[in-house]
């Protein structure tokens, strides 16, 4: 089979396939992850890649201890690893493979990870660090294999045949194509399809808030770290308030965002700029009630679409700095436009109580997480509606009286 082993350097499929499951949060794994976290955080070359540093922090000792407690609180004592997990990582957010892999490794599984390799310098650097850490953790290095290959039904078929669980990150086309390849009847599968995310701003509270620059920086991170291509990056900005409040708030908000963009020297690519212009025209062409504000911020394109639109605006969107804006009366009003494709709501100026009472009961579908500004991209063990620690393990029940 024609695949390239990226990590560990001397990794062998037979070795990984032959390794036995470990108990969840085994000390060998914890030691490996701790070393890895430290190596990532201190690596100079990652300073330019905040998403990798963030992954490093996510893996640090205290965070993993918290994960362990959550696992146990949710009944982890009854749970064991599944066995060999085959992960197909996404290409839009190139650090996701780490979360998928290390969560699965933590709970005792062995792993094969296919990453789509586009010679991103940051990912090469990351793989080099993992390789370095592997050298000091031989037994753990026998528990995973990171590979790269052009999608090939033979290779996908073989990994699918030997796995106990398959994890597919990808667009609809990828998921359908991979799903046509069988896994063993008893194997488990979870899929992470293409998603759409929303930011909600309470205009009145925003206007009253005095740290607008801080909000802008957090929004910038949410939206632009992955050129707005991450599923959880906000694409629709929902404004709640009176029309006067919204008008003033929008003005302040976007001018503060454009200041951050200028300060961070963020630039969209020429082709990305064309993609967003095409999408903008497409929205405008199809709904006569859209308005495109006269924008002086080249890296941002905005279009206001009425909340009553019949446009399938989620599918036309192509990331890269395009923001749909909608005005809402209240949270219930927002709930009405939601659908199964929706994933994250990044919110400012609301209480969690309000979300639980006025939004969640009225959702039409989707929405798996509601987080504050700045946390859109923060990966969680609860993702896309899955409790991953749970998904990566299976339950064994033992009755008390066995005689």
């Amino acid at each position: 089979m024609d695949y390239t082993t990226l990590c560990p350097q001397q990794g062998k499929l037979e070795v990984v396939n032959g390794a036995q499951p470990l108990s969840p949060f085994h000390t060998d794994i914890l030691a490996f992850i701790d070393d890895l976290s430290q190596e990532i955080i201190k690596e100079e070359e990652f300073r330019r890649f905040p998403e990798i540093i963030a992954a490093g922090y996510w893996l640090r000792k205290s965070a993993i201890q918290r994960l362990k407690h959550i696992f146990i609180d949710r009944g982890g004592k009854q749970r064991v690893a599944r066995g060999l997990v085959f992960h197909l990582a996404p290409s839009n957010v190139d650090t996701i493979f780490m979360y998928s892999l290390f969560l699965s490794l933590l709970v005792g599984n062995t792993n094969i990870v296919r990453i789509s390799f586009k010679s991103n310098k940051n990912i090469q650097g990351l793989l080099a660090v993992i390789n370095r850490v592997c050298a000091n953790h031989i037994s753990v290095s026998h528990r995973f294999l990171i590979v790269n290959y052009e999608h090939d039904d033979t290779i996908n078929g073989y990994f699918s045949e030997i796995c106990a669980m398959r994890v597919i990150w990808g667009g609809h086309e990828t998921i359908n194509r991979i799903r046509s390849i069988q896994i063993p009847p008893s194997a488990h599968e979870i899929t992470f399809a293409d998603k759409f995310s929303i930011a909600l701003i309470n205009a009145e509270n925003y206007l009253a808030y005095n740290k607008k620059e801080d909000i802008a920086i957090r929004f910038f991170n949410d939206a632009f770290w992955f050129d707005q291509l991450a599923c959880s990056s906000p694409r629709l900005i929902g404004w709640i308030g009176t029309s006067e409040q919204i008008t003033t708030a929008k003005e302040k908000f976007w001018s503060s965002i454009s200041a951050v963009i200028a300060q961070k020297e963020y630039e969209s690519s020429p082709s990305g700029n064309m993609d967003t212009y095409v999408a903008l025209c497409q929205y405008a062409a199809l709904d006569k009630n859209t308005t495109i504000p006269d924008s002086h911020f080249p890296s941002i394109k905005r279009i206001t679409i009425p909340k009553t639109t019949e446009l399938s605006f989620r599918d036309i969107h192509c990331g890269q700095g395009l923001f749909i804006e909608m005005n809402f009366d209240d949270l219930k009003d927002v709930a009405h436009i939601t659908q199964s494709k929706d994933q994250t709501i990044t919110a400012f100026g609301f209480s969690s109580e309000a979300m639980k009472k006025q939004l969640i009961p009225y959702l039409k579908g989707g929405v798996n997480r509601i987080v504050g500004f700045g946390n859109a991209l923060t990966f969680s063990h609860d993702w896309d509606g899955y409790d991953l620690l749970n998904e990566f393990t299976r339950i064994i029940t033992v009755e008390d009286a066995l005689y």
């Binding site: 957010v93 667009g171 293409d194 050129d227 291509l229 599923c231 020429p270 064309m274 006569k288």
Partner: protein
């Protein structure tokens, strides 16, 4: 009033002579499309421009050419659509659909003739078509390629298709054609890449040449594949001269979304606007008009499109305006170069692991 255009030679008017008349025609088209094409009207409305007319030729909102791939854009009644042109594309989603009525088709033919006649004269010339006849026979293949051939065929007589079905040179027929017409002007037409790959390279590889010293070669099509082989316009021309003796080689820049009003290359190697078309180079970030000499995205304008809103389009090509009305070739109008497509960024994908790996 558009008939008045044909009283002038296509490259004879300066900016000030052309200006008002050209803008007036674009405004006529703008009013027509605003009235008849809801998508066009909606775009102007979204930008807050439904009430004011464009002030000058840089003041239109250019529709992206890609929009013809995703939307059905037409400004005439369905029963008036005579034919639908499609651009070549690999998947069904990736094909442009251009709806033509009788008047738009008529203008396309007439404008193309007016431009080409300025280069080759008004007499029909013996014509060598550097392609296979299959492209016009096979309806499956009938696209921009077949349409281009049929459009240009009207300028020729004694047509010979150079290739058989397998894209091999029909050696005997070619020899007969050259022997018969070598003393007089002949027209050759084809697509740049096909000419290079199946004609020039084959002749070179076999150490062969033909002699058509009075030939005029007109060609078009993308340079992308040729650039991969490090073939630029100069290399192309030199190789054509070396293998065929043809001195007059003209590339043109055009697209299925604006058939007819093509931008012809001049003897200095620049593309020219004429009475029927115009370009605006725009900054890729702001879409503001670029200075002369500054690279930007090419917006193309044409007086022809009546049945579909294609009179002002933004392409995905990069180009540079070199000058206006003072090209050394003697033609008036803007002259420019095309630098290829906007480079596609190393995208982190639209979350599809398949799309960006192949």
């Amino acid at each position: 009033m558009i008939e008045e255009y044909f009283l002038h030679r296509p490259f004879s008017l300066t900016a000030s002579e052309k200006g008002k008349q050209f803008l007036d025609r674009l405004i006529v088209l703008h009013r027509h499309h605003s009235e008849r094409c809801s998508e066009y009207r909606n775009i102007y409305k979204a930008f807050g421009r439904q009430k004011t007319l464009p002030r000058d030729d840089t003041d239109f909102i250019p529709l992206p050419v890609r929009l013809f791939k995703t939307l059905t854009l037409k400004s005439v009644n369905p029963e008036d659509v005579q034919k639908t042109l499609t651009s070549s594309g690999t998947t069904s989603q990736n094909v442009s659909h251009i709806y033509l009525d009788k008047e738009t088709s008529r203008l396309q033919t007439k404008v193309l003739a007016h431009i080409i006649n300025d280069y080759i004269g008004t007499k029909r010339l013996p014509m060598l078509i550097i392609d296979t006849e299959d492209v016009i026979k096979d309806r499956q293949l009938f696209s921009a390629r077949g349409g281009g051939i049929l459009g240009f065929s009207t300028f020729g007589r004694n047509h010979l298709y150079l290739f058989d079905s397998e894209m091999n040179i029909k050696v005997n027929e070619l020899k007969g054609f050259c022997d018969r017409f070598k003393e007089q002007p002949v027209l050759l037409f084809g697509f740049t890449f096909l000419i290079w790959k199946y004609f020039v390279e084959v002749l070179k590889a076999n150490n062969q040449s033909v002699s058509l010293p009075h030939g005029i070669l007109i060609h078009s099509g993308g340079w992308k594949k040729l650039k991969d082989d490090a073939v630029d316009n100069e290399t192309f021309k030199t190789a054509i001269r070396g293998t065929t003796g043809i001195q007059s080689v003209y590339n043109f820049y055009g697209m299925v979304e604006q058939l007819g009003s093509i931008f012809m290359e001049c003897e200095r190697g620049f593309f020219h606007t004429c009475l029927f078309n115009n370009i605006v180079i725009r900054n890729w970030k702001t879409l503001k008009v670029c200075q002369k000499g500054e690279e930007g995205i090419i917006e193309v304008q044409s007086v022809i499109p009546w049945s579909y809103p294609g009179h002002v389009l933004i392409t995905e090509d990069l180009g540079v305006l070199i000058g206006e009305d003072n090209c050394e070739c003697g033609r008036k109008g803007k002259y420019f170069v095309v630098n290829g497509r906007i480079p596609v960024a190393e995208l982190r994908g639209c979350s599809d692991t398949f799309q960006h790996t192949g």
